[in-house]
């Protein structure tokens, strides 16, 4: 049986550490979503949208972890990894949108 993900020869375990870093970020999105739930009694049901958005971002990170790991190990093996511009931009955008909606909810 072939290995589940391509092997790399990096003693610094860069793909592992990067994927774990995404994993921690995923968990924090989930935690922030759970904290937003505390607003439900004060600001009404639309705040559920904030929790759901956090869940979507966390879920998206979870579902792309395996692909991320194999892309990065392949890249380490080939000595070339393309910077993951879409992932960075989408994560930033999600954080900014959550923050803006949070401020709107507090001020409304």
């Amino acid at each position: 049986m072939p290995p589940a993900a391509p092997l790399h020869a990096d003693p610094g375990l860069q793909p592992e550490r990067t994927v774990l870093s995404w994993g921690r970020t995923m968990m924090l999105f989930a935690v922030v979503g759970a904290v937003f739930l505390r607003w439900l009694p004060h600001y009404g049901f639309w705040t559920l949208g904030l929790t759901l958005s956090c869940a979507v971002v966390a879920g998206a990170i979870y579902l792309t972890q395996r692909r991320r790991y194999s892309r990065q190990s392949r890249g380490i093996a080939a000595e070339q990894v393309e910077a993951d511009v879409p992932a960075v931009l989408i994560t930033t955008l999600a954080t900014v949108v959550l923050g803006l909606l949070g401020i709107l909810a507090v001020l409304a």
Partner: protein, 125 residues
């Protein structure tokens, strides 16, 4: 695009110049970005928590101000994290020295102000 047809369109547009750096540095830059995003998310959760849990500590207008300021710091840090990631990536591609991290003074200043506000409110109460 011509140098490497496999590059994504966004990557080719935002990181147009220079050559591909050591993949370890690219991944390290990505992890640093993620650490900043987690910092931003912590500020976001902090702001939400102030508004949701601190009704007995902060009177109403103060609580809203503290909450909005905390979330705004989170917003600034997340935008700064993306800009820093991009600048570091560009510097590495061009072989330039890495830029100064402007979000570090921002973080220190915001944390200092937050603590000063909390101390002032608790002492004045």
């Amino acid at each position: 695009m011509s140098e490497n047809p496999q590059r994504g369109r966004l990557s080719a547009r935002l990181l147009a110049h220079g050559t591909e750096p050591d993949p370890r540095f690219t991944l390290a830059n990505e992890r640093t970005f993620l650490a900043w995003i987690r910092t931003a998310l912590a500020f976001l959760a902090g702001g939400v928590a102030v508004e949701a849990f601190a009704a007995e500590v902060f009177a109403d207008p103060y609580r809203t101000v503290v909450s909005v300021l905390t979330i705004s710091v989170g917003l600034l840090i997340s935008v700064g994290a993306a800009l820093r990631w991009l600048n570091v990536e560009r510097s590495m591609r061009l072989g330039h020295p890495l830029p100064m991290p402007l979000i570090i003074p921002l973080l220190s200043f915001a944390s200092g102000v937050a603590m000063a506000v909390i101390i002032a409110l608790v002492v004045l109460d």
